[in-house]
Structures are given as structure tokens and as C-alpha cells.
């Protein structure tokens, strides 16, 4: 079986990624949550500058984000109301730019989607936006009810985050 996708599949999945980006920028979490699979794994490892030779890992590893659907729901609930978030009250101005989308088949109804995501974020107390960008590797599933994000790993390009917090998603 070739893992090439048809033009329609590509178009549908690219739409999914752009829809998702729009919801994330708007912080429309009730609707973004509908795009997540029950077996979600959302992971953002800690980027490091390592030797090409002689590199080593310390400990079991602790990503910036390592969420399943349960912890993600708690996060989304907290970020959805000004009563329960300080970080996003007032809300940031966010712009999620998705690009470099490449898609291959991962099975009958699943797809590997690679993309680049760049988030421009402006806070009320800083004039310039902070810009963080990352390479995403997603597993996306087709269901009778539309696509669902199953796993997402985001490799960010800052080893020291130039931002007070990450109170949004990639």
C-alpha cells in the first residue's frame, strides 16, 4: 500500500489544521476540544543544545507539556474563564501560522501530518509580540464525525523560552 494521500485527503486535512489554528488563536477551547481524540497525547519536549557525539539524556525526561485528554480538559476549562486564569486575563492576542504541511497515510483511517507552527503572541503589557515556532508531528484520525487529533509532538526552537508562560497551545 502506498502511503501517498489523495488530493482530497490532503485538502481535507490541511483544512483541519487551519481550522484548528483559527480556534487556537481565538482561544475557542470548547470547539478545539471537539477536535481531540479520547486517546490524545499532546507532548512538547524540552529542546536542548546537545553534542553531536557524546550526548546523553538526564533522567526519564520531562517535557513542557505532556497531556492526555483528562489533563487537557482541565487546562482548557481553566483557560476558558477569566475567573479561573490569571495568565490569560486579559487574553493574549494570538496568531497561529501553519505551514510546510506534509501528509502521509498511517493506516486505513489515520494520517501522519507534519507541519510548522509559528505563534505570534502579544500581551497587554508588552508592545512587541513574542514569537515561538515549532515543528509538529501529528497523528490524525478520520472518524464518522470528522477528523480527530490523536497525538501531537511539538519541537520548539527555543531552549530558554523567551516568554513568561505558555498559556496557549501549538
Amino acid at each position: 500500500m502506498s502511503n501517498r494521500v489523495s488530493e482530497t485527503e490532503y485538502r481535507d486535512l490541511a483544512d483541519f489544521l487551519c481550522d484548528e489554528a483559527e480556534l487556537l488563536s481565538a482561544q475557542d477551547y470548547p470547539n478545539w476540544q471537539k477536535m481531540l481524540a479520547e486517546d490524545l497525547h499532546y507532548l512538547i519536549p524540552v529542546p536542548q543544545f546537545l553534542e553531536q557525539v557524546g550526548s546523553r539524556e538526564i533522567g526519564i525526561g520531562n517535557g513542557y507539556f505532556d497531556d492526555d485528554i483528562h489533563s487537557m480538559r482541565i487546562r482548557l476549562e481553566l483557560l476558558s474563564s477569566p475567573q479561573t486564569t490569571t495568565a490569560e486575563h486579559v487574553r493574549s492576542m494570538l496568531n497561529h501560522v501553519v505551514s510546510n504541511i506534509r501528509i502521509t497515510k498511517a493506516g486505513d483511517d489515520e494520517y501522519h501530518c507534519k507541519s510548522c507552527i509559528t505563534v505570534h503572541r502579544t500581551r497587554f503589557n508588552k508592545k512587541e509580540p513574542t514569537i515561538i515556532s515549532g515543528r509538529r508531528q501529528d497523528l490524525i484520525r478520520r472518524t464518522t464525525d470528522g477528523f480527530r487529533l490523536v497525538t501531537r509532538q511539538v519541537n520548539l526552537n527555543q531552549s530558554i523560552l523567551m516568554s513568561s508562560n505558555i498559556s496557549y497551545f501549538f
Binding site: 512538547i44 524540552v46 536542548q48 543544545f49 546537545l50 553534542e51 557524546g54 550526548s55 546523553r56 539524556e57 538526564i58 533522567g59 526519564i60 525526561g61 520531562n62 517535557g63 513542557y64 507539556f65 505532556d66 497531556d67 492526555d68 483528562h70 489533563s71 482541565i74 487546562r75 476549562e77 481553566l78 475567573q83 479561573t84 486564569t85 490569571t86 495568565a87 500581551r123 503589557n125 508588552k126 531552549s159 530558554i160 523560552l161 523567551m162 516568554s163 513568561s164 508562560n165 505558555i166 498559556s167
Partner: protein, 443 residues
């Protein structure tokens, strides 16, 4: 108050007012004060560098910071721990540019000078005889920290030859440090690479907050505590209002938040640490230490000047048991209005792989740049900087005047050393961090 060009001891006497329990806002915004801190404080005091478990084998290294200076922490061939200035003795180039690795030594990218793990100069650009015997190569070893020592796996270093022994510097704080970091025979290990992020605030904001600030926990963290631990804000308030805050001496401060009356019986002993770990705690801690540990909800501490820790329980799985996470962190001074937080998670070496994984998840979801606690703190702290930047606003005070009500209420016969005050709302121990800061700045 207007700042003069050359600040002297008399100025620092005024910048923190012990009687009034206030501090000038300038110490959180002024760059000339920040520069003086580098000299009078950070060059003099013991600083946290890293954990024993990060460099288990000879040649293992991690790159770190001692305040504004880049350093390399490594384990030598002899097993000794070295802390070296990460700057070539030839023209100052940063030597080691990776975050971690294993090596036999460090070679400079510029002219190729090479140094051993202990900082000894091994080679210059070409034949060392080209110097014709005119240069004493012993003076060109990498600068090492004057003293390096560790406690409970926590490695500290100082540039100050005259610094007291680390054991004396930590002093009575060791009793409280043990409660969280020295309670099993093998001790603790880090779970991974540090989380590092920039917050637009003075480093002292973090040190003071972890000294620790009770009421903000209700205001800022009430919703998350309810969502992940099922504790209503009222119970958080009760715990903090009626639990002790401790001044451990030498500027080390912390809190012991107990399970409040309203939750007695609902929270397991040691907030749900696994039975096999509790058994080890019972072996390692003293009767008095166990007495205070058993009913703790967690704990927050600042070891002066900028090394803090937090232990807290969280439940991120519906119906799941509470999982305790322990984070340690350094508030790295970057400028008067910017710090970097360097944050690690620790777990007992004896813990099961499953518990380690769960503790890691509980940690990264709460105390990290994306953590539900830290993301909110950072916003409040950056708000301070934005709020006190102006000509009018920077003239005001940082107010710790709850201390006026509580500072004379020392709990008699408290089981631990130091001074225990009856409320985490008291602002006494937060303010104590600044009083200690003042001692260094006026010395």
C-alpha cells in the same frame, strides 16, 4: 527617593525598612542596585548549581549559571565535582556551548586552547614552547569556584573563599530541607533537563514569593487547586491562614501548610505518597520531623538568596489518587527587571518507575512555564514590573505590613528549629528574605 550615583550602606539601610516592614520598589527596578547585587551578594554567597544525579559519571557535565556568570558543572576523572567559569582564559570565549554531555575536557572554539575537567590548561594554540618560558601557564587555568560542596545531593558553589561552610550556611534550614529532600536512604534524582524561561520581573520577586506568599495562593491558584485537588478555596485559605511560616535563619524561609480541620480524614497521610516511600520516610526522618510531615499538604521554601522549592499534590485523572510533585528552582538574575527561572523536578531514587512517571506528569502540568500554577504566577509578577516602572509608581513601597501583626507571635515549643510564626498570611518570612538581602548590601 532619588537614586544617587554611588549607593552606600546608608542608602541600603533606607531601602528596606525593618520597623515599617516595607521595602523600596527601587530594589525591584533599579539597574544600579542590580549591578551592586552582583558584587555584594552573588559573588559572596553559596549558589545552587545542580544535582548530583545530573552528573553521575566521570566526564559528565552540564552548563549552568552562577548569577550572571556562565559555569560548567562536571565530574572529574577522580569523581570530584568541578565548577568552572565557562569562559576561556585566553580571550574569554564561551568554552562549552552545549547544555549537557560527556567529555574528557573543553577546547575553545577560537584558538583551540584546551582545558581538563578540573580546568587545568592542557594546550595552547600551538607548541606551548613558542611562549619561550615567559608565561606562567599555572595562572591560565580556568577559574574555579572558590568552594564547592553539596547537601542531600544538592550541589552549591561560591566565588567567596571566606564563605562559611555550606553546612553552616544552610544551618537550621537543613531540618526543613530534609522534610522534602532527604527522607529516604538513597535520596533523590532529577527527572530531566531543566525547564528554563524568562519572566519580566526582578529575581527577588520569586525568592520572596516562595518564602512564602500565602494569600496569593488563594487568589491566583484557588481555581486550579480546586480543579486538580478538589480542595475548595476556603480550605486552602484555612490551611494557609492557620499553618506556620518558618524563618530558618540566614535568610532561608518557608512554610508548612497543614491539612485544614475541614479536610481532616479526607486527605491521606503524606498527601498520598506511596506506602513503600512512607516506610522509608519513617526510617530516615526524626520523630519531630515526622510529626510535622505527616499532615502536610505540601511545602514551599526559599534557600537564600535564589534557590527555592515547592512540593504539592495534584490529581489530573478523574477519581485518581493524589500525586505529589517536587520542583526545585533557581531565580536567575538577568537584569533589574528580568529573571530566568531554571526549574527541575525531583523524585526519590527508590520510587517505582510508575510513580516517577506520575510525579513527572504532576510536575510539568503544575510548576513549569506551561504549568497551571506557574503560568499564572508569571503573569502577576510581570505585572509588578509593568506597574512600578513609572516616576510616580516606583517611589512607593513594597508592603509587607501584615508582619506588624504577626512578627511578635513566635510559636513556643515548635518541634523544628528557627522561628515559627502562626500564619502563612503573616508576610514575616517573605520580608525576612529582604532583610537578609539588606545585610549583604550594607556589609
Amino acid at each position: 527617593m532619588l537614586l544617587k550615583e554611588n549607593l552606600g550602606p546608608a542608602d541600603f539601610e533606607q531601602l528596606v525598612d525593618e520597623q515599617k516592614a516595607t521595602a523600596s520598589r527601587l530594589i525591584f527596578t533599579d539597574q544600579s542596585i542590580f549591578e551592586l547585587e552582583q558584587e555584594k551578594l552573588f559573588a559572596k554567597v553559596w549558589l545552587y548549581i545542580g544535582h548530583d544525579s545530573e552528573i553521575p559519571n566521570p566526564g559528565d557535565y552540564v552548563t549552568r549559571k552562577m548569577a550572571t556568570d556562565p559555569v560548567i558543572l562536571n565530574r572529574g576523572e577522580d569523581g570530584n565535582i568541578n565548577v568552572l567559569l565557562n569562559s576561556c582564559s585566553h580571550r574569554g570565549t564561551l568554552l562549552c556551548t552545549t547544555d549537557t554531555g560527556n567529555t574528557k575536557g573543553f577546547t575553545c572554539a577560537y584558538h583551540g586552547w584546551a582545558f581538563g575537567l578540573n580546568g587545568d590548561l592542557k594546550a595552547t594554540a600551538d607548541d606551548m614552547n613558542l611562549y619561550d618560558g615567559k608565561v606562567d601557564f599555572d595562572t591560565l587555568n580556568l577559574k574555579s569556584a572558590a568552594r564547592v560542596d553539596s547537601y542531600a545531593g544538592l550541589i552549591f558553589a561560591t566565588w567567596n573563599n571566606e564563605a562559611p561552610d555550606l553546612a553552616d550556611f544552610l544551618g537550621d534550614a537543613r531540618w526543613y530541607l530534609d522534610l522534602y529532600r532527604k527522607r529516604t536512604p538513597q535520596g533523590m534524582e532529577v527527572l530531566g533537563a531543566p525547564h528554563r524561561w524568562v519572566v519580566e520581573t526582578n529575581w527577588k520577586t520569586g525568592a520572596v514569593n516562595f518564602g512564602a506568599d500565602g494569600p496569593h495562593a488563594v487568589k491566583v491558584h484557588g481555581p486550579i487547586t480546586q480543579a486538580t485537588f478538589g480542595i475548595p478555596p476556603q480550605a486552602v485559605r484555612d490551611s494557609l491562614l492557620y499553618s506556620p511560616a518558618i524563618s530558618m535563619g540566614n535568610g532561608h524561609n518557608g512554610i508548612l501548610p497543614f491539612i485544614p480541620e475541614s479536610l481532616r480524614g479526607q486527605v491521606p497521610a503524606f498527601t498520598g505518597y506511596p506506602a513503600e516511600l512512607i516506610e522509608l520516610y519513617e526510617q530516615c526522618l526524626t520523630t519531630a520531623q515526622l510529626e510535622v510531615s505527616r499532615d502536610l499538604l505540601g511545602g514551599v521554601q526559599t534557600m537564600f538568596p535564589n534557590f527555592s522549592s515547592v512540593q504539592a499534590p495534584a490529581i489530573f485523572r478523574p477519581g485518581g489518587p493524589p500525586i505529589n510533585m517536587l520542583a526545585i528552582r533557581v531565580w536567575q538574575p538577568i537584569s533589574a527587571t528580568q529573571m530566568e527561572i531554571w526549574n527541575w523536578f525531583l523524585v526519590e531514587k527508590e520510587a517505582s518507575e510508575e510513580w516517577k512517571h506520575e510525579a513527572m506528569l504532576a510536575g510539568v502540568r503544575t510548576f513549569s512555564p506551561g504549568g497551571t500554577f506557574d503560568q499564572d504566577d508569571a503573569e502577576a509578577w510581570a505585572g509588578i514590573t509593568a506597574g512600578i516602572a513609572g516616576q510616580q509608581s516606583r517611589q512607593g513601597d513594597m508592603n509587607f505590613q501584615m508582619a506588624l501583626a504577626y512578627r511578635d507571635q513566635i510559636i513556643p515549643d515548635f518541634p523544628g528549629p528557627g522561628k515559627a510564626y502562626p500564619s502563612i498570611y503573616g508576610e514575616v518570612t517573605e520580608f525576612d528574605v529582604l532583610l537578609e538581602w539588606q545585610k549583604y548590601m550594607t556589609a
